[in-house]
């Protein structure tokens, strides 16, 4: 009887572990960022000509401190980046008075041409810059693309999301930042 109980317990525990593994979601979404709770690193990156009139040729993060930001890293070869681009544009259209959305193109070979095609395809009106040498990506501890950082008005990084973002998910984060 005792043996049956112990065997049952072991099988139940292994089953629970298996179910936990299945339900815990995609592990790459959970890679923690060392920047959470710390000031988002400063950078100054060249912008695409589309945004010169509104932001100038270079986007200097320091010049925009004081308002919440969404910093999104993308690449033209990245499938999920195509998925999330319309969501980012909609968020920008809705919150541009309160939140700055920044796109940063990184890890792209034919960066300029591919970047322009990507921006034009989705009509991205929020500022998009190029991180040609991946320096800013390294500074932000980037693992891949897309990755998105949510920065509070005081400059501290509140959250990092690896993988495509959605409008609903960003809305929730923005409302928390604006509260």
């Amino acid at each position: 009887m005792r043996r049956v109980f112990v065997s049952g317990l072991v099988v139940t525990m292994l089953g629970a572990l298996f179910v936990f593994g299945l339900l815990r979601g995609q592990p790459d979404r959970d890679i923690p960022s060392n920047l959470i709770g710390r000031t988002s690193p400063a950078f100054a990156l060249p912008l695409y000509e589309h945004y010169a009139a509104a932001f100038g040729p270079v986007l200097d993060l320091e010049a925009h401190r004081g308002r919440p930001m969404i910093i999104n890293f993308w690449a033209s070869w990245c499938g999920p980046c195509y998925e999330e681009a319309p969501h980012l544009e909609r968020i920008w259209q809705r919150y541009q008075d309160d939140v700055l959305v920044i796109g940063i193109q990184t890890q792209d070979r034919d960066a300029r041409a591919a970047g322009r095609a990507f921006i034009d395809r989705f009509g991205l009106s929020f500022p998009n810059a190029i991180d040609n040498d991946s320096r800013v990506s390294i500074t932000y501890g980037l693992f891949g693309v897309p990755e998105t950082f949510f920065v509070k008005a005081d400059g501290t990084v509140m959250h990092k999301h690896a993988g495509p973002v959605t409008e609903a998910m960003m809305t929730e984060r923005i409302e928390a930042m604006l509260r």
Binding site: I31, P32, S33, N34, L35, Q107, R109, D133, S134, R135, S137, I138, T139, Y140, G141, L142, F143, G144
Partner: protein
């Protein structure tokens, strides 16, 4: 004929492409050769963020190449190995180190196999003691059963135990 003509017209292009490759390859190699050997020593301690099971020293990914350049720049400004590792650790956490410090979850991962081995050995010891104790225990046999066994053994003529045997069930 058309195909031949096309391949002939493409031949100079192919030669140009080959020459361009030959010209670019040593340039890229030279760029890597200019790096301080210490760069690769440090880079081999770092995990490439965008690769699978490759160090920054081994990977040819753009981000890994840039990280090597960054290490070179830091060494040139006088940073030592530990300071360079801390620079990357501050950005990527312990994950970036191929030999992460043994603390927190990492420590648990190190201790778990040792604990499992100790648990297994303890369990084996307990079971062995139990088996040995069970083997040495005196078993009271029913005299009627003993008589039946003796009768069978006697009938088959295999030689039974002595009358005064302390352990009549053993043959």
């Amino acid at each position: 004929m058309t195909r031949l003509r096309t391949s002939r017209s493409l031949a100079p292009l192919a030669w140009l492409a080959l020459l361009a490759l030959l010209a670019l390859a040593p340039a890229a190699a030279a760029q890597e050769q200019e790096l301080d050997p210490r760069v690769f020593e440090i880079a081999n301690e770092l995990r490439c963020p965008t690769c699978v099971s490759e160090s920054v020293g081994q990977s040819n990914a753009a981000i890994a190449r840039e990280m090597r350049t960054l290490i070179q720049e830091q060494l040139e400004t006088g940073a030592n190995r530990a300071e360079v590792l801390v620079f990357f650790q501050e950005r990527y956490g312990d994950w970036i180190l191929l030999d992460p410090p043994k603390r927190g979850v990492n420590l648990a991962l190190w201790l778990l196999p040792v604990a499992a081995a100790l648990g297994g050995l303890t369990m084996l010891g307990v079971l062995l003691r139990r088996w040995r104790a069970a083997g040495a225990a005196h078993v009271e046999a029913d005299p009627a059963d003993v008589a039946r066994v003796r009768a069978v053994l006697g009938a088959t003529d295999v030689g039974g135990p002595a009358e005064e045997d302390d352990e009549p069930w053993r043959t």
